[in-house]
Amino acid sequence: MFQTADMLNIFQKYRGDAIVIPGRGGRHWIDISTNEKRDIPLGDPAMGGHASFGMGLALAQPDEKVILFDSEGDVLMNLGALVTIAEKAPENFYHFMLDNECYATTGGQPVPNAQNVAYDVIAKGAGYSKTYAFDNLEEFTNNIEDILAQPGPVFVAMKVFPHIENEPIGSRRRWQTRTRDKVIEDVQEQMGV
C-alpha cells in the first residue's frame, strides 16, 4: 500500500494539460494540482457514478485527455459501467482506482471481500485493453509515464492507505474551494464549450 498524496505528487509530474477528475483523491489533489481550472473536483454527487461521468466527458471531448481517480467502493456500486466503458473505448480515458479496502468516510468498514478482489482482472474481463495493479509506489512511479502515453481506456488499480473519518459529517473540514457550478463553468471554458 502507499499514500494517495504521494502517488498524486508523482502523477502531477506527468499530468500535462489533462482534465483531472480527482474523485476520492480530491482532498489531496486540491493541494497538489497546479492547473485548478482543468480539475473537476465534484466531491460525491452520487456514489458509483464517477466512472460513467468520466467516460461521458471523454466521449464528448475526444481531443482532451480525461483522467479519473475512482475508488473501489464506487466501482463496486456499478461494476456494469466497466463493460460500457470498454465497449465505447474512449482512447482519451484513463481510469485510476484507489483501493483502500474500506468505506473510509463512514468509519472504515471493509468493502465486501475487501482483501481478495482483483479489480484489474475484473476490468480486463470487462474488456479494457490495458489494465494494471500496483501495491507499491516504486512500481507505480516506474510505469506512470508509459501508462499515460498509451491510448485508453486504461484501468489502473492501486492499493492505498485509508484515511478513516469518524467525525460527524457536519463537523468535517470542507476541502472544496469552488462550487460545482463554478467547477463546471471553469472546465467548460478550458475546453471551449
Binding site: L57, N78, V193
Partner: protein
C-alpha cells in the same frame, strides 16, 4: 379495430423529434417497447448509442456528455428510472444538467384500473423529485418532446417524457 397511424406512436416520429432538438447521444437500456426505435437509431450515423447495464449509469454518463458540450437523451423504462433515484438526484439535478429522459411507462392504463406497481409509482416518483413530465401516447402528442427539450434548457434540469404507448412498427 384498426387504429389510425395518428393513434400510434411511431418510431420515426420520435427519431425526428430527437434530430430536431440536436440530440448527439442516446444513453439507454433496451426494453421490449423500444426495439423499433433501436433499429432506426442504430442506422443513423448522427446518433451515438451508449448502452448501459443499469439505468443509474445513464444519468452520470449524460452529465459527463453535457459538461463536455454534447446533447444526450436518456431512454429507459420507468422501472429503471425508479432504481436510479440517487444518480438522478446527484448527477443531473445536483449538477443542473439539462437533459430529457424518455421513460417507457410500463403498466400505463390511461389512469384506468392499474395492476402494475411500476405504473403506480411512476408519476409519484417524478413528483417527489420535482421533475416536470409530459405524457406522449401517439404521434399527435410528439411535439411535447420538443417542449421538454426547451424546458430542460431553460430550467437546467432533467425533464421527463412518459411514453404511454409501445412503439409500433415502421410505416
Amino acid at each position: 379495430m384498426v387504429q389510425s397511424e395518428a393513434a400510434n406512436l411511431n418510431p420515426e416520429t420520435v427519431l425526428a423529434e430527437m434530430k430536431k432538438n440536436g440530440v448527439t447521444h442516446v444513453v439507454w437500456l433496451p426494453d421490449s417497447e423500444t426495439n423499433w426505435l433501436y433499429m432506426l437509431m442504430k442506422n443513423d450515423p448522427e446518433l451515438d448509442l451508449i448502452t448501459v447495464s443499469r439505468e443509474g449509469q445513464a444519468f452520470s454518463i449524460a452529465a459527463g456528455l453535457s459538461v463536455g458540450g454534447k446533447n444526450p437523451i436518456i431512454l429507459i423504462q420507468n422501472t429503471g428510472m425508479m432504481e436510479s433515484g440517487d444518480s438522478l438526484r446527484g448527477w443531473c439535478l445536483g449538477m443542473h444538467i439539462p437533459v430529457v429522459m424518455m421513460v417507457g411507462y410500463r403498466g400505463y392504463t390511461r389512469h384506468g384500473v392499474n395492476s402494475d406497481t411500476a405504473a403506480t409509482y411512476t408519476e409519484r416518483f417524478l413528483n417527489a423529485f420535482g421533475i416536470q413530465y409530459y405524457l406522449v401516447e401517439n404521434d399527435s402528442d410528439a411535439e411535447r418532446i420538443s417542449v421538454a427539450f426547451e424546458e430542460a434548457i431553460q430550467t437546467k434540469r432533467p425533464v421527463a417524457i412518459l411514453v404511454g404507448d409501445e412503439y409500433h412498427g415502421f410505416h
